[in-house]
Amino acid sequence: MKKILLLLCLLCASNPSWGQDKAAEIYMQNLGDQVVDILSSYSASSEVTHERLRSLLESNFALRDMGKFALGKYWRQATPSEKNEFQNLFRLSVVDHYIHRFETHTNERFDVVASRNEKDGAIVVTSDLMRPSGPPLRLDWRLYRTGGHFKVYDVLIDGISMSITQRSEYSAVIRKEGNGLNGLNRVMQSKWNARGH
């Protein structure tokens, strides 16, 4: 099986003009299956589930680059220690956010539908989350291949980009609070504390 995967990867890598990227599709299907598997093997609220989902997200999501994007140009104006604090809070809140989302989505099936290569080098993998009630939820994953690995850079839920929504929210909070990135960090910290962590 691994040999077949490798062969597919090589085939796709050698032919960038293809409209689809089988290797990326396999990667995404595999990632989705792992999430479904974790959720079905343990009870949703257990420590093990949280821990496994967290490590899965941290190794597959480009959290640092996503955090930097979410700040837009405020990133440049921040001090290194503010940036570090923000990246830490960002990582915690994103992981928490997705764990919360996944938990409410048990008994679902994840199907990769298609993929395409964007002009800027991104690979967009389209998938459907099949729900027991209601129509399938469309999820688009923006991936980049860096250092031989795929990483998730953005998730579009029914066409809505999580990264852009986050950036709008963060920059509005920064402006409302004043005090640059530090103001946002304080709000994120108190939100985090209020959620019982």
Binding site: R64, M66, G72, P80, V124, D154, S163, E169, S171
Partner: protein, 317 residues
């Protein structure tokens, strides 16, 4: 969209600014403005670059002090780089909107959320789905009218085909046979039609009871009602049907967004800002999709070390 405009400088600004010299900064392209400081020997070169995306306006300002000696040799004394960020929330009347939002939020808690929960608790999933399909079918003439106004006759044909098929074979729209027969659903409204004519969003607008909208979408709602043949001839004894339909549509729409609202209320850093960010991105994505543009956002994160053509900046630290 990039445009360069000269930045007006005053001597006061210059004398009060501390310059730090950056070695190796190329200022050859920074000739968009000149201002003489003292007679003829020194002058400031400055440039302002504005990059606009739907979500943000970035202002990049650079300045250099250039000395010319008697022989005409040029020496760059100091260069400063100032970055300004002016993110546009697209919300010019935020204070007003926040008041309406507060009012709507109370109505939500008192009426709409409880009604919605009862609806979900009492009416079976499958029946709610069928209600959605019927309401969607009844609205197809509005989609059709907007297809025509957008001069998208191919899509208009599909909408008409869907309407006829679903009303007859699909038993008044209870079943979406059209989608199975290769005529997929596409929601159109007059806000989208105005977008296709090049009319901008015009800013975030919180409507009482109806919720988030924009200065473009809000009048669009009225036009869509006028475009709906169902509203043209209402016999006086059938007004109740119109109200019932409007009520059902409102409940159906609210039922769709209610889980997300609850999530935002719990998890966003500021509920008002969270709803605005989510609504505007959702609406923009739906407009892009309806107009057949790429369903991708205008901007998204890229790897730091990735060869890229986009304007996205790399960190300085």
């Amino acid at each position: 969209m990039i445009k360069s405009t000269p930045l007006a400088l005053s001597a006061v600004l210059l004398t009060s600014t501390t310059f730090s010299a950056h070695a190796g900064v190329d200022i050859s392209h920074m000739t968009s403005g000149h201002q003489h400081l003292h007679h003829y020997d020194s002058y400031a070169v400055y440039e302002e670059r504005v990059i606009e995306t739907p979500q943000a306006m970035e202002v990049e300002r650079r300045m250099a002090i250039v000395h010319e000696d008697d022989q005409g040799d040029v020496e760059v004394d100091a260069v400063s780089e100032v970055e300004g960020v002016e993110y546009d929330d697209g919300d010019p009347i935020e204070d007003f909107n926040r008041v309406i939002f507060f009012f709507n939020d109370m109505l939500d808690a008192m009426f709409f959320t409880p009604i919605c929960k009862i609806y979900r608790g009492v009416v079976h999933d499958e029946i709610r789905a069928r209600v959605s399909y019927v309401l969607r079918n009844v609205r197809e003439p509005v989609n059709f009218a907007n297809n025509i106004l957008q001069a998208d006759f191919e899509e208009a044909g599909i909408t008409l085909g869907r309407f006829v098929t679903n009303t007859t074979v699909g038993v008044g729209g209870i079943f979406d046979v059209g989608t199975d027969w290769g005529m997929p659903f596409e929601r159109q409204d007059f806000g989208m039609t105005m977008a296709s004519w090049g009319i901008g969003e015009g800013g975030y607008l919180m409507l009482p009871i109806l919720g988030p909208s924009t200065f473009r979408e809000a009048p669009g709602i009225a036009v869509d009602i006028a475009l709906d043949p169902m509203t043209w001839f209402i016999p006086s004894d059938a007004v109740a049907i119109t109200y019932a339909r409007a009520g059902a549509q409102g409940l159906d729409d609210y039922n769709e967004v209610q889980p997300m609202l609850e999530d935002l209320r719990k998890n966003s850093l500021d509920f008002y800002i969270g709803v605005r960010a989510w609504y505007l991105e959702r609406r923009r994505s739906k407009v892009r999709e309806a107009l057949g543009d790429s369903a991708q956002p205008a901007d998204s994160p890229v790897p730091m070390d990735f060869p890229q053509t986009a304007d996205y900046p790399t960190p300085m630290n």
